[in-house]
Point group: C2
Chain length 242, copies 2
Amino acid sequence: MPTSTVEDYLKHLYILQQRARTGRRVPLGKLAEAIGVTPGTATSMIKTLATSGLVRYTPRGGARLTAAGESLALMVLRRHRLVELLLVKVLGLDWSEVHVEAERLEHAVSDKVLEKIDAMLGHPSVDPHGDPIPSLDGELSGRTLTNLTDCQLNRVVRIARVADQNPLFLQFAEHHGLTPGIDLVVESRDPAADAVTIRIASSEPTAAITLGSIAAAKFLVEVTRTSNSREEGVATANLVGG
Amino acid sequence: MPTSTVEDYLKHLYILQQRARTGRRVPLGKLAEAIGVTPGTATSMIKTLATSGLVRYTPRGGARLTAAGESLALMVLRRHRLVELLLVKVLGLDWSEVHVEAERLEHAVSDKVLEKIDAMLGHPSVDPHGDPIPSLDGELSGRTLTNLTDCQLNRVVRIARVADQNPLFLQFAEHHGLTPGIDLVVESRDPAADAVTIRIASSEPTAAITLGSIAAAKFLVEVTRTSNSREEGVATANLVGG
DNA sequence: CGCGATGTTTTGACTAATCAAAACCATCTA
DNA sequence: TAGATGGTTTTGATTAGTCAAAACATCGCG
């Protein structure tokens, strides 16, 4: 049974690996930063993970999960996201705070308890932020998503994920009603101003909201089936988040 | 913030202390055994707890919690028992298995989550085994209980607690319907046979059950208010269990 | 090519928690 | 009183995880 430290390394490595372009290899400095340790610590930890077959590692070439490491990482993610959902749906915590809570609980939930949670929530496929929940056999539902800096203008899109766990950001999103499931349109983009202007789709008139492109990129959307969609300008979103 | 190891030492020390007659002092061997470490380990750990003011310790004289240590221990117990109740009431786990699960979760539940659990369960005062749940300010509801080897014969008593966390024992108890809230009478005791014969009080006839005195002592009961009770032969039960 | 900047690895040291086994003490017993 | 006994404490060693800081690669640039 891996220690909770090991679980954290695997989890963060998985997440960074999804973002990485360069052959899924993650520089140890990035990993160290994500976990919150010094680079040297990450190096030595990764070396021991490599000898236990969970990670492949070439000095100065970065690390990458083996199949064994990846399936462990997915189980950690599954625990994390199901716990988040439990905290929101059953215990009524705010979605902006469940991430931190789940960071501790994800290491203490047994398989038995996890499956009870899963059943009680009706085998959900995404957590409160829209992040997909790996199934018991390590599958991830791979929807194809765009973000607000890429999607078509003036077309109704639905928020599928909010890809940042920062509580302040999540509170901002919630305050403007920008949560998974909400429909909106991108009205305009202004590259010079680095701005994206959106408006929530609703029967009543709503105010426009202007976001910087960094924030806009955190909202991953899908074209709603009801509108006449064409396959165009749609990039594959990375499947990761907290 | 105490480590989960420290929390375990405090919790077990508290529990043993309640059982201890001799001035609440707990021999370190007993503590070591309860925690599952070697005696030497307990000695060194207790010494460090003593220097941090959570425990008073005299070499070869045993250990005892300070006020600070005790209030920490109570908070651990509160987490443990509320989590047990959550697992049984909300997630539907069996009462025989929640103790082990709670052993891990009790160290990962934040105050915020704990208070949500407490509220959702309606601020309960006992856990699924009838063990009292310390309140936020460290109070324990102190009911006066007898056990089946002490209580009066042929009087209806109600099971208030089942003071053993062993899953096999709990399954046995459940199988015979011997769970908190159930009314029964002790029909006879046979010291020579070390046996206690009881029968569940019910409108329909029920079979008699014969227990050894060790098992019988694990069922703590209170005289039901409905029967005409006298204050007689009622010993103070210790307030502890897992 | 050579030199810095940047990021990575090594080194040496530390803390928390643990064990095995030796040393120790306090009694109880002959 | 002298052992023997049973529990307690010490000692010395180990493992996981971590940091600070020195040493080391690599790559881009002049």
